[in-house]
Amino acid sequence: MKHKKTVKEIMVDVFEYPHIPYWFTIKQAIVIIKKTLMGPEKCYHPLAILVFDEKYNLMGTVTIRDILEGLEPKLLTPQIMTEFAGADIEDALATYEATMFNEEAKKRAEMPVSDIMVPAKAYVLPSDSIAKAAFRMIHQNTSILPVLEDGKKLVGVVKMFEVFDEISSALMD
C-alpha cells in the first residue's frame, strides 16, 4: 500500500483557528472558543486555540480538554489520586464535584492560558508524509500539529480529521 500525499496537501490555514497571546486568561479563551469555533451550525474539530508569544511564535495549543483540566480543583495530589483508585472514590468525587462549580473555579478561570496550554513540541514539515504526521499525533497525544516551513515559519496546521481520512480511505481501497 503506497501513499504519496504530503502534509502540504492536507494542511489547513492557520487562520481556521483562533489565535491568542499567552497572557490571555482562561476565561477569555473560553469566550473566544465559544464565539469562533462552536455554534448552532458549526463546530470545528478539534476545539483548539493557538497560543503565541509576543513575537508571534507559536507556543502551544489549548483545547477544551486543557481548559477543563485547568479548572479542576488543585487538590488532586498524588495521595488523592491513590484514593481515586481505591474504595474511597465516591468521597473523592464528592469533593471534586463540590469544587468544580464553586468560586475557586472562577478564580482559576483568571489564570493565564500559558498555565494550561500544551507546549507545541512536535511539528511537521510541508513535505512530510501523512504517516509521519499520524505518528507525531499519536505519540504526542495531540489532534492538531503545526506545519513549519524550514522548521521555522508557521504555514498551516494538520488536523487529525484529515490524517484519519487519508489513512482510512487508503485502507478501504
Binding site: F15, P18, H19, I20, P21, F24, Q28, V31, I32, K35, T36, F52, D53, E54, K55, Y56
Partner: protein
C-alpha cells in the same frame, strides 16, 4: 528689559510672577531642560518675598511647566505639545517638528482574537483575527507612553513583518497597504496605571495617567484602534477651534 512685578496692580503678586515666568518658558528665553534661578535669586530679581516665589514655582510645577528635583534645583520641563486631536499628524512627525529625540521599543507584535469589546470597537465579526502591537515610546531614554494598536489582520497582513519601531503605522498603512487614514475619533480620559503599565512608565501602580483611545477610519472603514497610556507630566494637549464663517 526684565519684566517686573507691578505693585500698584490689583492682581496678586504670585499670579503676576507666574505670568512672567511662563512667558520666559514659552518664548524660549529659558530653554527646555535648563535650570531656573534659585528661589533667592528670583526674590532679588523680582523684589518679592520667598513665599511668593515658592507659590509661583509650585503653580508652574502643577501646570507641568517646571520640574522640581530635590537637591538639584528647578528645571524647565520637556513638554510634548500634542496635536493628537488632529489625527493626520503621527507621533513621529510631531517629534520631528518639536525637534525632540525619541525612541520606540517594540514590546509585542502578535495575533489575537477580539476579546472584550474589541470586535465592536473595530467593527469586525468576532471570529476575525487582529494584529496586536504594543510599543513603548521614550524621550531621552525616559519612557513617556505605552501604545497598544489593534488592526484587523485582513486590513494589512504585512504589518507582521514590517519595521514598526522606526516607521509610524500611519505611514506603513499608506505606503505598504495603500490605506490612507482620513478620519479619527479620539477620547481622552484619566486612568490609573496597572502594575505592568507602571513598571514600563516608571510610575507606581495606581498612579494617574492619561488614557488616549482612538478609532481611525479610512473613508467609512474602521482600520485601527489604539489605546495609549501617557504620563500626565509629559504631555499637554492643544486644541484650536475656529468658528465657522456665517
Amino acid at each position: 528689559m526684565e519684566e517686573l512685578i507691578r505693585r500698584e496692580h490689583s492682581q496678586k503678586l504670585y499670579i503676576q510672577l507666574v505670568e512672567i515666568l511662563k512667558n520666559k518658558i514659552q518664548s524660549g528665553e529659558w530653554p527646555i531642560g535648563s535650570q531656573i534661578p534659585t528661589e533667592e535669586e528670583l526674590c532679588k530679581i523680582y523684589q518679592v518675598s520667598r513665599s511668593t516665589v515658592r507659590t509661583a514655582v509650585l503653580e508652574l510645577a502643577k501646570q507641568g511647566l517646571l520640574k522640581r528635583q530635590q537637591g538639584k534645583g528647578t528645571f524647565i520641563c520637556k513638554k510634548v505639545i500634542s496635536t493628537g486631536l488632529t489625527l493626520l499628524t503621527s507621533f513621529k512627525e510631531l517629534m520631528f517638528e518639536e525637534g525632540i529625540a525619541f525612541s520606540t521599543k517594540l514590546l509585542a507584535r502578535t495575533m489575537m482574537m477580539p476579546t472584550d469589546d474589541l470586535d465592536i470597537l473595530l467593527n469586525i465579526p468576532e471570529d476575525r483575527h487582529v494584529i496586536y502591537l504594543k510599543r513603548l515610546r521614550s524621550i531621552d531614554n525616559d519612557p513617556v507612553l505605552v501604545k497598544e494598536t489593534f488592526i484587523p489582520y485582513h486590513i494589512c497582513p504585512h504589518l507582521l513583518d514590517l519595521d514598526v519601531e522606526r516607521n509610524s503605522i500611519l505611514e506603513l498603512l499608506e505606503s505598504k497597504c495603500g490605506i490612507r487614514i482620513t478620519r479619527a475619533k479620539s477620547y481622552i480620559e484619566l486612568t490609573h496605571v496597572t502594575k505592568e503599565e507602571g513598571s514600563l512608565l516608571n510610575l507606581p501602580e495606581g498612579a494617574a495617567a492619561l488614557l488616549f483611545t482612538q478609532q481611525s477610519y479610512s473613508g467609512n472603514t474602521l482600520v485601527k484602534y489604539t489605546r495609549t497610556v501617557k504620563r500626565s507630566d509629559r504631555f499637554r494637549f492643544f486644541i484650536e477651534v475656529e468658528r465657522k464663517p456665517e
